[in-house]
Subunit: 356 residues, 2 copies
């Protein structure tokens, strides 16, 4: 099969790899219909995280089940499935608590499972999925999604569930005012999640008209281009003299966390999902005196998949609009470059053998 | 009048001061029935915070209204009232959001109000209360409380409301497992608050039998004497292999925050109310990977006073049991020493002229 391998900084190659095989009764083999590149994939791409040796990459994909081990009961051959960004068992206490990211048997795409068997990356033609019952979510009644639906299903792997996690952690709900820091795919999905959860005022922070336009489509009532204290002043002005009830931090830098804190009212809630880059420690004195609660972290998109899938299938939300580029899998390197240079918000990759 | 003045490290004196007078239409004068010493009063006492010049001290008191300005409408002369630990207007956005600690006109007992007028400390015979409508809460139907009731009313100034705030921030509720870090008056009240909110398993951390006994009276099902990872192991053992859903951090040191984080399950909630001493910054990486939410901070006890007062008057809770010592106001210095040396959990001070 063909699979995307990262060899080092800015060195992405699509190469021949052995087709995966069933190793345990809980495994499934999935033929990838569509995959994509995540903002967090850019970290090793940019060398922020070093790549010790070549490894398979990609953790977001939709595909069709091609084979299952004898212990798999919730998906069957031919099912269209969405894979969340992390592999989880579904049975340990964290999984039962809906915190699959802390699964006691968690494995990562492109890494290895507990038994030491290789787990393929998502940006390839085929993927062995360990703990398939705990990990995969079948899409009922759909075998060949059209491109808009495929895009929306693909966001449920990560970005839509992650934006939703930020909104839930920030206690977004009817009547609440919301600020979203970050206009990447996750931030945009955070806007959509806030709208879906009933927020009445949603302020997106963006300086890019293409991203601001999607934010407005997703439900943003206002777009703020300012930064720092000027942005907080603008939020206060828009909200009639007060700061926001709920703020979603969807970047992960010290600057974005500072921006989020500046925009949160006393007693408000900050939901953070940006993978913390260095220097983003939380200033406990500010949280103490302003009574700001902070929650979020790595999103258990597996937990949110069923309810978000229902809304995608019903046409209630169309998170797939975050994809502004589609490329064949063979052009994965260009997909990374386009996202790195911010020429694309998010790129969908289509393996040829998926028959599309 | 007589009032407690801090002159410097370990230098507490009860001295003659001018009786306060009404300065604005929103003022009230309260004759103090009982006051007490707070754990946070020990900070300047121990020199952790420096005392630049002598100042009135004390921020917890119950008393009887002796005079009111013409603009005061919610309390009248003769009313028994509870004063929360901070002065708040009751009308600005933070106050209307129930976050009185962030009141835009907030003043501190022993400090000065917005107009620059002195605000008396709580550990004295008389106190001028600015913004009396926003600050004071009358006790309906009681004019001369007996000592047990007086003690419980006095906890509503600060420690009971603060323990309750920790429990609310930690999302304590029916069926949740709870760990309380800290066995001071706030931690003990946190146990009581957790019980009141329906927690079924409440683990108190204590190495002092007198405090552990109160914790058990307040609803603790278990007491753990271990510290560090050994304490987390003990919690895991008591809870059948998992950590706690809700953890209350009621100390404020780096060690106690670390202890609290170690005891929180993935996806669990940490409520913190210990005033942050240095070094207690929150490790964002742990919060991210374990999905632990953190909330709390300075407690708006004014917001909680009505509901907690109802329960005290109904006899449903008796937080006053945290007082294990009662002294005349004139012996305030001994009260500080007893608490500093942990000879007392919490000391109630009784001014003589209150007629008791």
């Amino acid at each position: 099969m063909r699979a995307t391998i990262i060899h080092g900084t800015r060195d992405i190659r699509v190469e021949d790899r052995p087709d995966p095989e069933i190793h345990t009764p809980d495994d499934a083999i999935v033929r990838v219909t569509a995959a994509c590149v995540c903002g967090s994939d850019l970290w090793p791409y940019r060398g922020v995280r070093s790549t010790e040796k070549p490894r398979a990459i990609g953790h977001e994909f939709v595909g069709v089940v091609e084979a299952v081990g004898e212990g798999v009961t919730t998906v069957k051959v031919g099912d269209l499935v969405v894979a969340p960004w992390a592999v989880s068992c579904g049975e340990c206490p964290p999984c039962r608590n809906g915190v699959q990211v802390a699964c006691e048997h968690r494995a990562a795409w492109g890494g290895a499972d507990e038994l030491g068997f290789h787990v393929d990356g998502g940006q390839g033609e085929l993927v062995r999925v360990p703990m398939a019952d705990g990990t995969l979510v079948p899409v009922p009644g759909v075998s060949e999604p059209d491109e808009p639906l495929l895009k929306s299903l693909l966001t449920l792997s990560d970005v839509m569930g992650t934006g939703h996690h930020a909104a839930v952690a920030a206690h977004v709900g009817p009547g609440r005012s919301v600020v979203v820091v970050g206009d990447g795919a996750v931030g945009l999905c955070g806007v959509l999640a806030a709208k879906r959860l009933g927020a009445e005022r949603i302020i997106a922070m963006s300086r890019h008209e293409d991203r601001a336009e999607i934010a407005r489509k997703f439900g943003a009532t206002d777009v703020v281009a300012e930064r720092g204290e000027a942005a907080a002043d603008k939020v206060r002005e828009l909200l009639g003299g007060v700061l926001a009830d709920s703020v979603l931090e969807c970047v992960g830098t010290a600057e974005s966390m500072d921006q989020a804190l500046r925009c949160t009212r006393p007693g408000g809630s900050l939901g953070f999902v940006g993978v913390p880059a260095g220097g983003a420690e939380l200033p406990i004195g500010v949280l103490f005196s302003k009574n700001i609660s902070v929650g979020g972290g790595a999103a258990s998109t597996r937990a949110y998949l069923p309810e978000l899938l229902d809304d995608v299938l019903a046409g209630a939300i169309e998170p797939g609009l975050v994809f502004d580029s589609v490329l064949p899998l063979e052009e994965a390197a260009e997909a990374y470059a386009a996202m790195d240079e911010r020429r694309a918000i998010k790129v969908m990759l289509l393996p040829e053998r998926a028959g599309r």
